[in-house]
Amino acid sequence: MNENIEQDLQKQLRKEAIRRNWNLFRQSKLGMIGLYIVIFFLFLALLQPFLFITGIWNKGVYDPVVGYEAIKDTLLVVECPKEYPTEKYESMKDCPGPGELNVKRLYLAPGVEVGDYYETFIQPAPPSSRHLLGTDSLGRDVFSQIMEGSQVAFVLGLLSATLGVGISTILGTIAAFFGGRVDAYLMRQSDLILMLPSLPLLFIISAFAELKVWHLAIVLGVLGGLGGSVITIKSQALQVKVKPFVDSARITGGSRWRIMFSHVLPNVAPLALLFMVFSVTGAIASESVLSFLGLLNIDMSWGIMIYLSQTDGFIFSGLEFWWLILPAGLAVTLLAGGFYLVGRGLDDVFNPRLRKR
């Protein structure tokens, strides 16, 4: 009976606490923008499997890696003049015009004369109602690739951030508590990792091992977890360690481990969560850079999309093939920025000093 009342009250109070924190977060405009962006990409990531399962999308056509659809177009074969301007074309740029094809490009198709209509596949195809963001040079749907890339970004970002923050929280707390040699060792290790340029290090690792998404997540997580965040978490743990409630537990006879896990860890957890959100940003950005440099063994990701558009030579072609570059580039920027903004919003919630009245 009494127990029930207590539990009800507990539920009620918890709900209230969540609502209070949510209201604090909501006041941060940047945080809300970030949250909308993250939710948008989460929606994209989840939408793709939904479309496949319900059969709205056919895997043969829309699969981001092996899908293919031939988009046919009929072109008029013309011969471009040697001197400009002519009646039809003002300069060399205007030939061939829209819907036309220079006969010189058909040297492998004998028997086609100027004035014929020639049926051809266009790849990469510009956006259409069937392919909202067009197709790439292999005829694969770009929108589906963006969705796949979103899944990769979430898995990689959250996995590496969780791992990294787990490591740094535990090590930071241990450093604060045991001090002495343990602390000195952990701090020097952090300094070392902070000094190591992480991208070149990843180049070297990728030379020795095939880097798949989850390998990369582990490497990024461990590097992040041993780096500077240990120092920050340690300084926070040192602050908590001298609080009277810790003294109070010590007087009562609480062991060091008990105090570490039940008093200090819960009080550094908010800071750790903040770190986690920020390190997602780093992981997403690193993935794109490594993929762009062709160092990852991943089938599809936003970085790979940019990489392919570069190796196929479209990246310097101005905005003519914009759907090959812009969507992927924007996605990386937006999602990385979105997580960063969410972190800024959480900062307002966790940092009472910054709280506005």
Binding site: L13, D247, S248, T252, G253, H263, P266, N267, A269
Partner: protein, 317 residues
């Protein structure tokens, strides 16, 4: 003869502070310098003095929070019925000592873990010492909340500290402290951060509990009026030393040491028409005592269990 719950002899706590980055020589801060006192069962001692005189340092050394650098502290062992030195306590005996000593802190906003519910906070000592089964423990928590005046208990148990007022939090602190039924509680200015209006109710609560549970307090404060309300005896501390120690009324009516006189003269009196005895702070009485006893004996008894330090304080006060 009265049995003592704690006896402190020549307690010292020195800090080494380096004289700056480039300097080799180390300065020594004598935070607590050779103090002695004892507290009988059920009685309370007030430790009074200005900021920085070493009150908190004394308290922390007694609770084994910081190691002392010299002197002896003996605690009553209720099995052997002897005083036992707290220096080299091992497992079981250390546990027993920890059960019998507790501390209440000044700042009720920092002395409760903000991520724990009130229930978990009060349960902690029972969990650490593994006392009783789960149901016993919860019943004890409800009981102690009733004792400190937080009813109905079910209303407070699931709450977090920031959901309570300062006075309520200090009540929770007291509940947590007393759930183990300790014999000795060190209170480090437990009411100084509270609103004047609730101070007196917290002090009354502590007095009543002391009577019911036979707890002795070492009550630290810089306010003589508070010490008078709470304690049987008062020790006046100055610059790391106890300069005068006596029964409360004896000390207040018959102060000898110039520092004590100065302290008493500075108590604010709410009624301006009240004709307070203003002591002129002079060294005559202290000089006379020093002349009689010499400065070899650090504390001399001038009768009525009234002790004065013969330490030379000229120019310091």
């Amino acid at each position: 003869m009265k049995k003592n719950v704690i006896e402190v002899k020549n307690l010292e706590k020195y800090y080494e502070v380096s004289g700056g980055f480039f300097s080799r020589n180390k300065d020594i801060v004598k935070a607590v310098d050779d103090i002695s006192f004892e507290i009988p069962f059920g009685e309370s001692l007030g430790l009074v003095g200005q900021s920085g005189c070493g009150k908190t340092t004394t308290a922390r050394a007694l609770c084994l929070l910081d190691p002392k650098t010299g002197g002896d502290v003996k605690f009553y062992n209720n099995e052997t019925e002897n005083m036992q030195n707290i220096d080299n306590l091992e497992d079981e005996e250390l546990k027993k000592f920890r059960r019998n000593i507790q501390m209440i802190f000044q700042d009720p906003y920092e002395s409760l873990n903000p991520r724990w519910t009130i229930k978990d906070i009060i349960l902690e000592p029972l969990n650490i010492h593994n006392i009783g089964d789960l149901q016993d423990r919860e019943e004890a928590v409800v009981e102690i909340l009733k004792t400190v005046g937080l009813t109905p208990a079910s209303n407070y148990l699931p709450r977090y500290p920031h959901e309570l007022s300062g006075g309520q939090r200090q009540r929770v602190s007291i509940a947590r402290t007393l759930i183990m039924k300790p014999k000795f509680v060190v209170c480090d200015e437990p009411t100084s951060m509270l609103d004047v209006s609730i101070r007196i109710s917290i002090m009354d609560l502590m007095l009543n509990l002391a009577k019911d549970l036979e707890v002795s307090y070492l009550y630290i404060t810089h306010d003589l009026a508070v010490a008078r309300y709470m304690c049987n005896r008062i020790a006046v501390m100055f610059n790391g030393k106890i300069v005068e120690i006596a029964e409360t009324e004896e000390l207040l009516n018959n102060p000898i040491h110039p520092y004590t006189k100065r302290l008493i003269s500075s108590i604010p009196v709410p009624d301006p028409s009240y004709d307070r005895k203003v002591y002129d702070v002079n060294y005559d009485e202290l000089d006379a005592i020093i002349a009689k006893h010499g400065t070899d004996n650090p504390m001399v008894d001038i009768g009525n269990e009234h002790y004065i330090s013969t330490h030379d304080v000229k120019g310091l006060i």
